[in-house]
């Protein structure tokens, strides 16, 4: 089978901007994109650099953008991305600086992993033998332990694109692994730290990390679980969770979202600086006709909405 590749090449020593180079290689039907790139590197162009090792989706080395989306090259069959022999576009992973060709600098990635204090912190002295733990809890943790730290989720995270400080999906999924571990004794402190700015409340739930993760770790779902846990133990004194509460309470009161009240309720009425910082955005919204009047009227079914809330709250207890 003929495989056509269009690879984004970059060599910092050349002084040139990144540019695409095209290769055509002959491969067996079952070949992966990684097999094809290795064929290029070994027999056509030895100057091509990429990371790869296990060839079986376990070492996490080979995340890159294939046809615009982050994937593991070794887990991507050529036939799945170029059914009729189309050209396959291969680029380095996003949201990380490129070192050379398809090799990116993952230092920021690892800094964030370190930032969530990713080691077990049991409280009290260890037991005589192993810690006792429910089997189901361990199986649940395995979902997150499946993470191979490939960075595909980080590559395609939409928040990270605009805010480099965001802890990002991989580190937050890793954090869940400890929060949910019955052996860890530091859950509350962990959740408090994760609720700080750049943490769990900054995710916009675009779901991209879930879609691109090659190991089905579902980082966004883990972030949502962290939010729920944080809220459940009363860590609500932060912009993110206040935003969520403001959202629900205005709906509960008026039967509809009162955007005008969202900001002060999120930041606190007295946090003038934070509210002012959001002012330009608010003004733009008003100009564009997207901000409803501050004096929203209750919708006709408001009483019914309140009943729904009541029932839900009742059911929870």
């Amino acid at each position: 089978m003929e495989v056509k590749l269009k690879v984004l090449r970059y060599d910092p020593e050349s002084g040139k901007e990144p540019e695409y180079r095209r290769y055509t290689v002959d491969m067996p039907e079952s070949a992966t994109v990684l097999d094809s790139l290795i064929e290029v590197r070994e027999f056509h162009d030895g100057t091509l650099s990429l990371r790869c090792s296990c060839r079986s989706a376990i070492c996490g080395s080979c995340a890159m953008r294939i046809n615009g989306r982050a994937r593991l090259a070794c887990k991507t069959q050529v036939s799945s991305v170029a059914e009729d022999g189309e050209e396959i576009v291969v680029e380095p992973a996003g949201n990380m600086p490129t070192i050379k060709d398809l090799v990116v600098d993952m230092a920021p990635f690892w800094d964030k992993i370190r930032a969530v204090k990713p080691w077990l912190q049991p409280s009290g002295p260890p037991p005589e033998r192993e810690y006792l733990a429910p089997p189901q809890a361990m199986i649940e943790l395995a979902e997150v332990m499946n993470c191979i730290m490939c960075g595909a989720c980080v590559s395609d995270c939409t928040v990270l694109e605009v805010d480099k400080s965001f802890l990002a999906p991989a580190a937050l999924a890793k954090a869940w692994r400890f929060v949910h571990d019955p052996r860890d004794g530091n859950t509350a402190a962990r959740l408090r730290e994760l609720s700080e700015p750049s943490g769990i409340w900054d995710c916009t739930r675009c779901n991209f990390c879930v879609q691109v993760c090659p190991k089905d770790v579902k980082p966004m779902d883990q972030i949502m679980k962290l939010r729920a846990e944080a809220t459940a133990i009363g860590i609500t004194n932060n912009a993110g969770s206040r935003h969520t509460f403001a959202f629900t309470s205005t709906v509960k009161e008026g039967g509809r979202l009162n955007e005008f009240q969202m900001l002060p309720r999120t930041h606190g009425l007295l946090n003038i600086a934070a509210n002012l910082a959001e002012l330009p955005g608010g003004i733009r919204m008003i100009r564009a006709g997207k901000m409803p009047s501050p004096f929203t009227h209750k919708i006709p079914g408001a009483a019914h909405v309140k009943r729904i809330f009541k029932r839900f709250e009742h059911a929870k207890v």
Binding site: E13, S30, A57, C59, W119, E130, M138, I139, M145
Partner: protein, 560 residues
């Protein structure tokens, strides 16, 4: 004076290297790890099945030790095997306490499965991602302890002065810069060499670097003829299907749908020792009862639920790499190169006969695996002897007197060597071509079944390979992330290792464990109950013998 200097330098950040580092640091030494890939990319992550320890109430370390001795076909050193099995329990509990999410029973205690060659169910596991789960937890501990890692630095040479190892020379892959890293003790923890065969279950980075590095400075390398062929590697790419698949109840079938293991190992069936199962499969294939050069691994009767809980990764592997869903169809498998029992000769504290040099993990040969390693004993080997060598090197750092670090001139020598590759023209041959030719030759001539004639031919072929290697150039002349140059150096390491394997295999004129000679089908304790050692000479490996330590288990016939 060298800019980089430590008490203990550990080459390799797999399980053995990281475990050693943590131990040495806790003992108060100044430690650094150097690794050609980020620690979690190390090949230990590929271990699927599990790690052994006699923790069960009906089990004992002695039984574990006996199974290991028998599995080794009596070539393992029994003093070392005793240490391995005695320390297994504490080592496993320690991993659990560090955070490994081992499989539990309903009671909340650790749960185990049975593995090939074992008389009891003593393999502890995390689904089929055990290696990854342990490797990531050790990396977490590395972060916790703030250990220094020279990440993506590639060791090209070891430094030896007055018969003392004094550290290493390494190339920083990102910049191409070459540095001397001086150390009072150096631990080789560079893993295996599977890539010298084609195909192999091993990752592309498993190129025998440390074994060759130690060999080049005069350390003895033993048992290099003992190469393990894993019975279930996937058709095509050679990716591993864990032994866990058989321990969960998988069957091996030939083209006639027969569970052929009943002919070869009527008691243990699919769970006989790896060498036994690999030979059985190869015999079926050679005698025309294979399917397309493979036999079939049938897991359909396990049901989707059990597969989802315990074998999720290999199901994915089957689908991604062979287009087969094991819940619905049997998977085609065949024996494939998997593990090297041999390696750098060490004592039970990781110490080699060369002062200042230590080794642990797959690159080392303590020897606990002898002629055949039991499944799930290797991860155990990495943590037990990783820890012990960490402690021993820290001890040495405290006691060594009058130690002078090596000069920077070693970096200059290495630079000249690297430059030679860059200066040579690309005259038709390529590093990758030489590697493939060597790998195919090794699989053909130094495989599951061996003969004098084939092995002698292999020795001859290795001479051609080396001659071609000495003339090869690399295409990439740059400094930044020049993997082309790196592969050229790795090929040199693999050639050293392959030569040692070939000449040792010629010398062992008997069949023992993984080394099966059709011309000498019996084990011959009178002449070959000994280790074959290789030491460096410019003409090629020089052979000598080393005794096997026997403590309490006298050699018997090995039957499963």
């Amino acid at each position: 004076m060298a800019v980089y200097q430590h008490d203990v330098l550990i080459i390799g950040a797999g399980l053995a290297g990281m475990r050693a580092a943590i131990a040495a640091q806790l003992e108060g030494a100044d430690v650094a790890i150097i690794s050609k890939v980020h620690p979690v990319r190390s090949h230990s992550n590929a271990a699927q099945g599990g790690i052994n320890a006699a923790l069960g109430e009906d089990d004992s370390w002695e039984e574990h030790a006996f199974d290991t001795v028998k599995g080794s076909d009596y070539l393992g050193d029994q003093d070392a095997i005793e240490v391995l099995c005695r320390e297994a329990g504490p080592a496993l509990i320690e991993l659990e306490r560090m955070g490994v999410i081992f499989h539990r029973e309903e009671s909340g205690r650790l749960g185990s499965r049975s593995f090939g060659g074992a008389s009891k169910a003593r393999t502890y596991f995390v689904g089929d991602i055990t290696g990854q789960a342990i490797l990531h937890v050790l990396y977490e501990q590395l972060i916790k302890h703030g250990l220094r890692v020279y990440e993506e630095w590639f060791v090209t040479d070891l430094i030896v002065e007055d018969a003392v190892c004094k550290g290493a020379v390494a190339m920083e892959i990102r910049t191409g810069n070459v540095h001397v890293i001086a150390a009072k003790s150096t631990i080789i923890a560079t893993g295996g060499l599977g890539r010298m065969y084609e195909p192999s279950t091993n990752a592309l980075i498993c190129t025998g670097d440390g074994i060759s590095l130690a060999y080049r400075i005069g350390a003895p390398i033993i048992d290099m003829e003992m190469v393990q062929f894993h019975p279930t590697t996937l058709k095509g790419s050679g990716v591993l299907i864990t032994e866990g698949a058989r321990s969960e109840g998988g069957y091996l079938l030939n083209s006639e749908g027969e569970r052929f293991m009943s002919k070869y190992a009527p008691n243990m069936m699919e769970l006989a020792s790896r060498d036994v199962v690999s030979r059985a499969e190869q015999t079926e294939i050679n005698e025309g009862r294979g399917v397309d050069g493979c036999v079939l691994l049938d897991l359909r009767h396990l049901g989707e639920e059990r597969v989802r809980e315990r074998l999720w990764q290999i199901r994915e592997i089957g689908i991604d790499f062979a287009g087969v869903d094991l819940v619905k169809e049997p998977i085609p498998v065949r024996p494939g190169v998997h593990y090297i029992m041999g390696g750098v000769k060490t004592d039970i504290d990781g110490k080699t006969p060369l002062e200042g040099l230590y080794a642990a993990g797959e690159a080392a040969c303590v020897s606990v695996h002898g002629a055949n390693r039991l499944g799930a004993n290797s991860l155990l080997d990495t943590v037990v002897f990783g820890r012990r060598s960490g402690v021993a090197t820290a001890e040495r750092a405290r006691s060594v007197m009058g130690w002078t670090p090596p000069s920077d001139r070693y970096a200059e020598e290495t630079k000249r060597k690297l430059q030679a590759f860059l200066d040579r023209p690309l005259n038709g041959d390529r590093v990758a071509k030489i590697r493939l030719d060597m790998g195919n030759m090794m699989s053909e001539l130094v495989g599951v079944f061996r003969t004098e004639e084939q092995l002698r031919l292999a020795v001859e072929r290795m001479k051609d390979i080396r001659a071609r290697y000495e003339k090869v150039g690399v295409e990439n002349k740059g400094k930044v992330f020049n993997t082309d140059l790196l592969f050229a150096i790795e090929l040199g390491f693999m050639i050293d290792c392959a030569e040692m394997t070939c000449v040792s295999a010629v010398a062992r004129k008997e069949s023992r464990g993984a080394h099966y000679r059709t011309d000498f089908p019996q084990r011959d304790d009178a002449n070959f109950l000994k280790h074959i050692a290789c030491t460096y000479s410019p003409e090629g490996p020089q052979l000598s013998e080393m005794p096997v330590t026997i403590t309490r288990w006298q050699p018997q016939e090995r039957k499963y």
